[in-house]
């Protein structure tokens, strides 16, 4: 890709993407009230907390399965 081609694509991009006007580039209001509101919100539970029960259930199911079918252990190890 040569320099003129790069310039053409850059020009095309400038035309295609939304421009940030001078007004838009400046912060129009104080965001501290919004920040305070965010700080006062109770912390969201970590994503892993929502899924950890599923991991444990899967592990338990695997343990039960292997207990009933111990011959499956080499097959499982092969596929790991």
């Amino acid at each position: 890709m040569n320099a003129s081609e790069q310039e053409r694509i850059a020009k095309l991009l400038k035309q295609a993407l939304p421009q940030v006007t001078d007004d838009g580039a400046q912060l129009g209001r104080d965001l501290w009230p919004a920040m305070l509101q965010r700080l006062r919100q109770p912390p969201e539970p970590a994503p892993w907390l929502n899924q950890v029960w599923f991991d444990w259930a899967l592990l338990a199911a695997l343990a039960v399965w292997l207990a009933f079918f111990p011959a499956a252990i080499p097959v499982l190890l092969y596929h790991l």
Partner: protein
């Protein structure tokens, strides 16, 4: 002395040499200890700059305001990891870029889904259009170019936006993204090459 008064009006929490003045150092140390007053002082001092760095990437003022709050939320959570001897400005800018990047990743995912869901997609129709467009470039070409651009990997989008549209120096972008200037050049080149391929697939000869 009140925390807000410890920040001089001209600086950004750091002197031009990247070192903090005594008053600024106090604020940064108080922030690192988790004091809300110090956090507020830094927020009020840096919110405009963080906003500007985000709006340059996402190009949507309302969204940039939300992401500014999100950035400072991350900053607040990570206060214990902040080293007061280092530049708060650079640290905040890095976190802001990551927040914008995370948004682009999620937006890219939903954008792809929307594009697939609609036969004649125009997800950018609600965004403000550039003023005084070149008459040689039709609206359809602009829309298709924007669509192609938003299909690029978010990291390439950020590098290309800052380098080609904002025309920031590679060194500055490198500091913002936490990568080398060479890596920035590579990302911009990859973005251009991918974009050219996608445009040609759509019958647009750049």
């Amino acid at each position: 002395m009140p925390v807000l008064e410890q920040l001089s009006p001209g600086g950004l929490g750091q002197s031009s040499q990247g070192r903090s003045s005594p008053g600024q150092s106090d604020v940064l140390r108080q922030f690192a200890r988790g004091e809300l007053d110090a956090f507020e002082a830094l927020f009020r001092r840096h919110q405009s700059e963080v906003y500007r760095s985000i709006v340059a990437i996402v190009r949507d003022p309302a969204l940039a305001e939300d992401l500014t709050v999100e950035t400072f939320w991350r900053i607040h959570r990570a206060h214990a990891h902040f080293d007061p001897a280092r530049s708060f400005e650079a640290w905040a800018r890095r976190i802001a870029t990551n927040a914008a990047l995370d948004y682009l990743k999620s937006a890219s995912h939903s954008f792809t889904k929307n594009t697939r869901a609609r036969d004649t997609p125009d997800p950018l129709e609600d965004l403000p259009q550039p003023p005084l467009p070149d008459p040689a470039i039709t609206q359809e070409i602009r829309t298709r170019t924007a669509q192609a651009f938003h299909q690029l990997p978010p990291k390439l989008q950020v590098a290309a936006t800052l380098a080609l549209i904002e025309e920031q120096p590679y060194k500055e972008i490198a500091a913002t993204l936490g990568i080398s200037a060479g890596a920035v050049k590579l990302r911009v080149f990859r973005a251009l090459r991918l974009l050219r391929t996608k445009l040609k697939q759509q019958g647009i000869e750049p």
